[in-house]
Amino acid sequence: MTIDLIKQYWQSYLWGSPNHISGLAMTLWLTVTSCVMGFALALPLSVARAAGPSWIRWPIWLFTFVFRGTPLYIQLLIIYSAIYGLDFVRNTPGVGSFFKDALNCTILAFTINTCAYITELLTGAVKATPRGEVEAARSLGLSGISLYLRIVLPSALRRALPAYSNEVILTLHATTLASTVTVSDILKVARDAYAEYYLPLPAFGIAAILYACLSLTFISLFRKAEQKWLRHLPTT
């Protein structure tokens, strides 16, 4: 029985088929797109929150407060079910078809959620920039955007690297929620396999092993990155 399950489902667990990507490939796609887009959005937001005027700081604070203070599962349900449930959303062309697609909704939810967490940790890193670095930059005539692009951000991003790697692992783990809204990630394949064969140990065990391998791969990649970019920092 277990052999049958593996024979039938191994390809779905790993990559599915060219016109229906599933399993590991889908999980990786969800993780990478939401982490990249979340990071790209968080970068300007964190600078604005650390150094912007107060009318721009408090809406960003409110955004991170709400999205970090509520479970991602509820956020996903609101974006996937509740927004599409509204008549005016469903009847607006373009918007309706966007929210109808489960994959769009999950990527949107994961992106916003991880963006809130990354904004918070990058804000901390920007604020922790040593005064001396900024003063030295100003004394050399750097200001405004070039001060941030050349001095503050490169050093803040390096300092944020350990926390960022943590956030990527958390996002990887959070992508399992996609299975609850019909997106065929690793866990969805496992649930399908379980429903067909009623063998919980191989069905979910394979999924657990795949996720563990992914987590450990990400962790070792980030450790290498830290060794490269944080070499100048004293080791503790």
């Binding site: 203070g69 509520t70 479970p71 509740a82 509204l86 866990l187 919980p200």
Partner: protein
């Protein structure tokens, strides 16, 4: 509508209950795990490391389904063998044991780090004063360890609180379950019922996380009594 709102409040009560009991289980497991990882016995260290590494590498939802369905599967096998009717696992019991077991791994790391942050001299002094091992633990190590552990505990608590949202997937009647029941039973103009009830559920969570932030801020201040505040 007020009936549904009442159910939502009952649901958030279940959420608080599940989160609190899971936290206690996780904390105790964390103490045991930290003791194992800090012990001088090679096998205890190995078991502790396996626990923290494996559990933290696998997503909580996967572990939850893995443990829940396997426990039910084994239980069915046993009742079949004894020719007894099927017993369904209580979702509440399943929720607290699974969450407690998973977050015990995170607590192990938190507590291990905090114990290592307490200066060795403190325990040596306790031994020099003739304190027993239990006295040294409960009067010297634990109170000082808590100061270092509190930020981690506060973080873990927030994660557990939000992870309780997942136990509706294994049929526990907590706040999201109540919200979904309310959605099924009502129909609003413009299809807004889903938006309304899910937002209320989100708001209830937001209140909980905010309140616990304040509570942990207070606790951190208490356990920091006698220490200088870090310069800001």
């Amino acid at each position: 509508m007020t009936g549904y709102l009442q159910q939502l409040l009952v649901g958030i009560g279940v959420t608080i209950e599940v989160a609190t009991i899971s936290l206690l289980i996780a904390f105790v497991l964390g103490l045991i795990g930290a003791a194992a990882k800090l012990s001088s016995n090679r096998w205890f260290v190995l078991a502790g490391s396996a626990y923290t590494t494996l559990i933290r590498a696998v997503p909580d939802l996967v572990l939850m389904l893995l443990m829940y369905y396997n426990a039910q599967y084994l239980l069915n096998a046993i009742t079949d063998w004894l020719q007894q009717p099927q017993i369904d696992i209580d979702p509440f019991l399943a929720g607290i044991s699974v969450l407690g077991f998973i977050y015990g791994a995170y607590f192990t790391e938190t507590i291990r780090g905090a114990v290592k942050a307490v200066p060795r001299g403190q325990l040596e002094a306790a031994a020099a004063f003739g304190l027993t091992r239990w006295q040294a633990f409960s009067r010297i190590l634990f109170p000082q360890m808590m100061r270092f552990a509190l930020p981690g505990i506060s973080n873990n608590w927030q994660v557990i609180l939000k992870a309780t949202a997942l136990v509706s997937i294994i049929n526990l009647h907590e706040v999201i379950y109540a919200a979904q029941a309310a959605i099924k039973g009502s129909s609003w103009p413009g299809g807004a019922q889903m938006f309304f009830y899910l937002s209320i559920a989100a708001l209830l969570y937001l209140v909980l996380t905010t309140l616990s932030n304040f509570m942990f801020g207070y606790l951190e201040k208490r356990y920091a009594a006698g220490f200088e505040r870090m310069a800001r």
